[in-house]
Symmetry: C2
Subunit: 374 residues, 2 copies
């Protein structure tokens, strides 16, 4: 007996997930829960009842379009993920297994055999002394090339953090794949933390939330301090530090941030992307007024429509808005487009199916990134 | 009624894990499984039976020493993790929730309010044309400082990948905290992928395993090609490119790699760390001979004892071995120390409780990192 366990540990096979994809992209899910009363499959937000078999609950989907699919099981009301799997995603404190159906849009979300960019988590210090973490994507040529690159600032939603666009949003894979096909320019992508009450993802840095600061979305602090992030990037990375080579985009609260940052600093970005964005800085809008003029509001929200005018008069290359028809922010977006239309501000608008989902936001980034810096 | 769901999404509270830590560091675990026959808590490898209560299984531990604790539940034989939680760790395809008991050694594994280094995932190309991913830790002063830094090459085990030392091993937190206390020098830490049949973590890059190449641990390819990694680091980062400022360490298969790389390139490293290492390049040793001399072996394994002699004659600052008394590689390690003792090669040996575990490897890195470059 000479340590066969060594071989087991060195060369163990990986257990397969309880999910198999057939040739026609029908997917069969199996969940072993002999005593459960009800098992539901949650698949990219759809709820699909599973059928009890011999101790195993089963369901086979219709043929699924190429995409990334996140799923979990709801067993008697309680969410569970696969016992063993390589690929899970965290959405705040919820976890999902995921798989990709390739040969279509899904292939853009997979790491393929193409030149890869570098991803980083780095820390910067704000003028008021907070250390804050951000993620940065550097395109494949960055290390081998002294040429400067344009920058996309890509902002997460209120439930996200500086890891969200990399982990849930597949930003590195999307950029790698678009660049490899010549469909996007090489660019730096900066993903800061937009929750001012957290210095970093709570998964990384469990500093207690300062409850009195939780409402900072409406304090304007993140928007006002945004030039500090730009300054950090322009002094630590090889960038083209001008408006023509700068984009800002974000989802949900990040769209809200991108919109308010870009009008408050109206000569800073040539490209603005609003993915399922919120807009109203007073939480709730009255009489269909999204942007009340009030000195009691934080500075960044006081003159929104005037600042929008300055922004559009200064000119920009692309103001791009996308939202799903089922999004709870759909009406708020309709009101915002009314303001743009009334003033004849040029923008592009893209409407998709579905709602406030990462499935949509991955698609929006895939489209928006192809429009930048060219 | 104007979108209360916005507020919910923007400001939702995080669900607590089903685990509470009392003031005296006793931890109570609760798992809701009314129909289960048996629920066992697996806590840092210990198996602790849970007791059924009103629909909820419970157990309260003794007071736990300060450390990082990874856990999951085994429900009727099937491993499950918390339904909702911020902090999970992946060990190959097994997942664990984790928490940290601070105020002692555990605090070194937490992200604290200290200057933070940067972490990166980057790709390099081997001379034979493979793109391979690695993780790199850059110490807090790296970006603000033109001074070059020493480098620790830190290697994972066969079940790991280029993310293992960052995620399971807490390497960034350990270095940040030691550096902040002045207990370790600022250093770059390079964590390549040691499984030659994978270009990157299978969680990131699900390229099919080439089965015919699975046995590459014994092909010596990783060890032979290691100078390519050193060359990539010395040409892309601000390093001191000499033996005095270079260390190599690894766990399990990574210890095996560190040992064989350092004797085959005997003028390359002043510091060698072997954490629960394997040694024997023929899988199984006969007649207590760890290192047979045979022309049929790959080059790096042909003259191990001669090369060890060259390495120790050239001199080095620290040759450090650590293993747990319950480790299945304990006997193999005893045989290796016999070779070192017989030849009067200077080394240090540290024996801990426990076995082949990340709990030990985090502790070993914490000790070893304090000995480097000073």
């Amino acid at each position: 007996m000479k340590h066969p366990i060594t071989l087991l540990i060195f060369f163990c096979a990986l257990t397969l997930q309880a999910q198999t994809v057939a040739h026609n992209h029908q997917v069969t899910f199996r969940y072993d829960a002999p005593d459960a009363t009800e098992v539901v499959l949650e698949l990219n937000g759809m709820r699909i009842p599973m059928l009890p078999g011999n101790a195993t609950w089963n369901v086979t989907t219709d043929s699924l379009p190429s995409d990334l699919y996140a799923y979990r099981y709801i067993v008697d009301g309680k969410p569970v993920t696969e016992a063993q799997s390589l690929r899970k995603m965290r959405d705040i404190d919820n976890w999902f297994d995921y798989f990709i159906i390739p040969d279509g849009i899904g292939s853009y979300f997979e790491a393929n055999n193409v030149p890869h960019g570098k991803t980083e988590q780095t820390w910067y210090t704000t003028a008021d002394g907070n250390n804050r973490r951000m993620s940065v994507y550097l395109p494949p040529s960055y290390s081998n090339n002294n040429q400067p690159f344009p920058v996309l600032y890509l902002l997460h939603g209120s439930g996200g953090d500086e890891l969200a666009w990399l982990e849930l949003g597949r930003a590195a894979q999307i950029l790698d794949n678009l660049i490899a096909e010549g469909k996007a320019e090489e660019m730096i992508v900066v993903m800061p933390s937009g929750n001012m009450w957290q210095e970093a993802s709570p998964a990384y840095y469990p500093k207690p939330v300062k409850l009195s600061h939780r409402d900072v979305r409406l304090s304007g602090t993140f928007e006002m301090q945004f030039p500090e992030i730009i300054h950090y990037i322009d002094t630590h990375y090889n960038t083209v530090p001008d408006k023509h080579h700068r984009a800002v985009a974000g989802l949900s609260m990040g769209g809200y941030h991108a919109m308010h940052i870009s009008h408050h600093y109206p000569h800073t970005f040539d490209y603005v992307g609003l993915f399922s964005p919120a807009y109203c800085p007073t939480k709730i809008y009255h009489d269909n007024i999204l942007f009340p003029v009030s000195d009691s509001l934080p500075e960044v929200y006081r003159q929104v429509e005037n600042e929008l005018q300055t922004q559009f008069q200064a000119g920009l290359k692309l103001y791009w808005i996308a939202i799903g028809t089922d999004d709870f922010l759909y009406e708020e977006n309709r009101l915002f487009r009314q303001i743009l239309d009334r003033n004849h501000y040029p923008y592009e608008y893209s409407e998709s199916a579905g709602g406030h989902t990462w499935q949509n936001w991955r698609h929006y980034l895939l489209t928006f990134a192809q429009r930048l810096f060219r």
